[in-house]
């Protein structure tokens, strides 16, 4: 019965959003966000380039941008998002207990987290590779030269286990000192407690700025692991999870399709590309199918930008970090970023 109604409505081609909404799966999270009027986003305590609050409490960064885009898609306004800084230890309980709607905080996707923490990873917004920052004076060229060194790391991070595994495999004797926060670990490294500090390349680029004399340190180019990172949600509420997933896909797709915050109005009105038209809500009912307004991605791109714009502004060529696109380039240009089609 329902199915026929749906078919009829679709055939009519005039399916108004409210009528569609009745057939949508219930989404308590989306309802709560709309009722609240704001998105609750859990971010890193302070990682320049990814999520960092200036002295006025304004957040910027790649992970922050994603949350803004999600807020724009759901609520129509990129500013209707509230950021909760979370430490490495707190992030899971805060997400599990529903204090935030999602985590967008430089968190590595792993099997055991997905399987046992009651959380789902919704895609990849940054391919991180773990490496080390060392003093230039130490004469270290690659991670294999670190035999006998002591390494500072944040406790409970994937880097903590990665580094232990990597050195153990190679029978290297390395002392790993685990701090409760990244900031504590890097401060201890700066004070000379450790020979190296380990984190992802992107994170290191941001954290180098916190060292007393950033020029005295180098980041080893060769990564010891691949740590894909992206937004994280709780189990349950499939429709909300789909929204989280497809807003990220949408930002990447926009880059691939050449849609930017500058040309989005023009593209929406004049583009002949069907996928662009579907993405921006000029054709089809993609927003409404998820229970959003049809200009969901239009709002996100207009107010935040596509993936490339966000990347360049926060960690890429227009930022202080100047991280190459590398693996975080589109698949068409030799990178790993890929998005399923908007069909």
């Amino acid at each position: 019965m329902k199915k026929t109604t749906l078919t009829l409505l679709a055939l009519a081609g005039m399916a108004a959003a409210p009528a569609m909404a009745q057939t949508l799966a219930p989404s308590p999270t989306l309802d709560a966000i709309k009722a609240r009027g704001s998105l609750e986003c859990g971010v890193h305590l302070g990682l320049p380039g990814f999520s960092f609050a200036n002295d006025k409490g304004e957040w910027t960064g790649l992970d922050v941008d994603y949350c803004k885009a999600l807020a724009a898609a759901i609520l129509g306004d990129a500013n209707k998002v509230k950021f909760t800084p979370t430490s490495v230890q707190q992030r899971w309980p805060i997400l599990q207990s529903g204090q935030v709607d999602l985590l967008s905080r430089n968190t590595t996707i792993t099997f055991s987290r997905n399987a046992s923490l009651g959380i789902n990873f919704q895609g990849i917004n940054f391919y991180e590779g773990q490496t080390f920052i060392v003093r230039k004076s130490a004469n270290v060229k690659a991670a294999k030269d670190l035999d006998g060194a002591s390494v500072c790391v944040a406790a409970g991070s994937t880097e903590e286990k990665n580094a232990a595994d990597w050195f153990r495999e190679r029978s290297m004797k390395v002392t790993i000192t685990n701090f409760q926060k990244n900031d504590d670990a890097i401060a201890a490294y700066d004070a000379g407690r450790c020979d190296a500090y380990t984190a992802g390349i992107g994170a290191l680029a941001g954290q180098r700025a916190k060292l007393k004399v950033p020029g005295d340190h180098i980041i080893l180019a060769e990564p010891i692991s691949n740590d894909p990172q992206g937004p994280v949600t709780r189990y349950g509420d499939e429709r909300y999870q789909a929204v989280v997933r497809w807003v990220l896909n949408g930002m990447i797709a926009a880059e691939a399709l050449g849609v930017t915050s500058k040309n989005v109005d023009d593209m929406k009105a004049n583009s002949k590309n069907a996928e662009v038209r579907r993405l921006l809500g000029a054709e089809g009912n993609f927003g409404a199918m998820l229970g959003l307004s049809n200009d969901w991605m239009y709002n996100a791109i207009k107010q935040v930008g596509n993936y490339a714009e966000s990347y360049d502004r926060t960690v890429g060529k227009d930022s202080a970090l100047k991280i190459e696109r590398g693996q975080n380039q589109l698949w068409t240009k030799g990178g790993l970023l890929f998005t399923p089609p908007f069909q």
Binding site: D55, T84, S87, S97
Partner: protein, 353 residues
């Protein structure tokens, strides 16, 4: 001038060099003090930078107080929105007035004044800081700095003191079940580290509430701290209860007063007076322990200090940030302990008469 000199000189001589051994001790201490204090004074005062606005103005070799000046308001109120900061100031004034009212109130009315403060300060204060009802709402995540330290301390104390008094009475109760529950509660919270309790509260409270009922994360930290300090307060009050001669309770019963009336009119006023110094110590401990809310990413005074160090525009300012915030903690706690000593002395005088 001349006549005063010899006697002053004598006095100091008697203090410092009365015997050769004493003289030697004095010299050793003075030498040690010089070694320790001179570099400190040089760093903090002589070579310090006071004028300027950015890190470039800092002169190496000394403290850069410019940093503290630039971040001063953040140390006070955290990320509280600039346009609304007057509310934080007003709240501080309100809290100070409440404190003065408590201290200056005549003994006869102190009970009702305390009740008024306990009811009015949290309700007015939360409205003022959090907003709503005509004021622009400010979320607790934007609160911070000294304001937050004091807010947490005061409200945790509002939970801890009444609960602590009840627990202390429960522990002295003749009813076995009540006594056992009180003892278990007190010993449990006294036996575990506060850092774990704050973590526990921030984690467990949302879990044990029916789904959909949220508890603000600041409220969670305050509840956690309040429960622990209640156990310590209970022990402080117990000291006062035990110090009271049992004749007091017996006399009250002989006069026909029931348990609650005897407790309220006879026992508690005397017991609380005796345990006031111990309770003040617990309050000081509470202020110091608020630093631990850092583990749940709430930025109190120390948290703001740590966050400000991470600012890439102000690299290498950790000593300044810690020295300044540490001095603030010290001043507050020292002032309270001095006040407690003074009250203790005046109460002792009053009872001696």
């Amino acid at each position: 001038m001349m006549p005063a000199t010899p006697s002053t000189f004598r006095r100091w001589q008697a203090r410092l060099f009365s015997t050769p051994l004493q003289g030697a001790i004095t010299l050793v201490i003075l030498a040690a003090l010089t070694v320790a204090a001179v570099p400190l004074i040089r760093w903090a005062l002589i070579n310090a930078t006071w004028q300027g606005t950015t890190r470039a103005d800092c002169v190496p070799g000394g403290a850069c107080w410019v940093f503290v000046k630039a971040r001063f308001l953040q140390f006070m109120v955290g990320f509280y929105p600039e346009a609304e900061r007057w509310r934080a100031g007003l709240w501080a004034l309100l809290a100070a007035l409440a404190l003065i009212a408590l201290i200056k109130a005549p003994a006869k009315h102190r009970g009702s004044v305390a009740l008024g403060v306990v009811v009015l300060l949290p309700s007015l204060g939360i409205w003022l800081l959090a907003g709503g009802y005509g004021l622009k709402p400010v979320e607790t995540r934007d609160w911070g700095g000294l304001m937050l330290t004091m807010f947490i301390s005061i409200h945790a104390a509002f939970i801890a003191i009444p609960l602590g008094i009840l627990l202390a009475l429960g522990r002295q109760s003749k009813l076995p079940v009540i006594r056992l529950i009180s003892i278990l509660f007190i010993e449990f919270w006294r036996g575990v580290p506060i850092i774990a309790v704050i973590f526990l509260a921030s984690l467990l409270l949302p879990l044990i509430m029916p789904s959909g009922v949220g508890v603000d994360r600041l409220a969670r930290a305050i509840i956690g701290l309040g429960l622990v300090i209640a156990a310590y307060m209970a022990e402080a009050v117990r000291g006062g209860l035990q110090a009271l001669p049992s004749g007091q309770a017996e006399a009250a019963t002989a006069l026909g007063l029931g348990y609650w009336r005897a407790t309220r009119l006879i026992i508690l006023p005397q017991a609380l007076r005796i345990s006031l110094p111990a309770m003040t110590n617990e309050f000081i401990a509470l202020i110091k322990n608020t630093t631990l809310v850092l583990v749940v990413s709430i930025l109190d005074l120390l948290g703001v200090a740590q966050a400000s160090i991470a600012d890439p525009n102000w690299v290498g300012m950790s000593m300044e940030a810690f020295a300044f915030s540490g001095a603030l903690y010290w001043l507050i706690c020292f002032a309270i302990s001095r006040w407690s000593l003074a009250t203790e002395a005046s109460l002792a005088r009053a009872t001696e008469r």
